[in-house]
Symmetry: C2
Subunit: 140 residues, 2 copies
């Protein structure tokens, strides 16, 4: 079912400081503009590698779901892994049929790439928060 | 400097159980054989996606460096991110020149893909343990 590793989500207290690490220390050259996803409670910035992306996420607002993560990991750290799937509803139903817990209501939300996404509970995924994202129709 | 996102390293108390998650729940179809890297203190198993890989790692021996990680994260979790670089010695010297801490002696070791690797301390990388791996000469 899963396709490309679309991105690794990395939580940070400061996207500006994290961008400096990827640009100045690691020499990344393709770094997008920071933008807000208020419905998800995050600021987002993508750092491109030739085959995939790092998604830097910073809390947006008091209710951001990553405040808890940053409380445990004040310097930031790996937050989730995102795999592409061809059909998000089919993926959700498949996950549920296999007994995995889809977070929230299970209704897909629009993710940072403009396509619907769901998240699967880490308890079912070897301790890893897994995002499934419908492949953009015009991608690749 | 950094090139491809070669893999995401995911620590697990049991590669066999983690493989079942990727194969049976997520539907991954290209999963390698488990093998030992005694010098690194890990068992390794690669799960391929079309563009990258998940590297499952399980402790090998009493001195495995991931026992501590699993003590904090008993179910497993995202352990490191590995980027390819064209020349490991140049990458190491560049990291040091920029003030980043290379783990261990700084002498590259042979990693799971048979090419030299180094690890950069998370304190310099936004809380993320970063592996730099020399691109295999016959790759891509």
């Amino acid at each position: 079912m899963i396709g490309r590793l679309n991105h690794v989500g990395i939580a940070t207290p400061s996207i500006d400081k994290a961008v400096a690490v990827y640009r100045d220390l690691l020499g990344a050259t393709k770094i997008g503009e920071k933008f807000a996803l208020p419905a998800q409670g995050v600021w987002v910035c993508f750092v491109d590698t030739p085959n995939s992306q790092i998604e830097l996420i910073e809390p947006y607002g008091e209710d951001s779901p990553i405040h808890g993560f940053l409380k445990k990991n004040p310097a930031g750290g790996q937050h989730h892994v995102c795999f592409e799937v061809p059909d998000i509803i089919a993926a959700r139903d498949d996950m549920r049929a296999k007994g995995a817990t889809v977070l929230g209501t299970g209704e897909p939300r629009i993710g940072a790439h403009g396509t619907p996404v769901i998240f699967i509970h880490p308890k079912d995924m070897g301790g890893v928060l897994v995002e499934l994202m419908e492949t953009p129709k015009d991608a690749h």
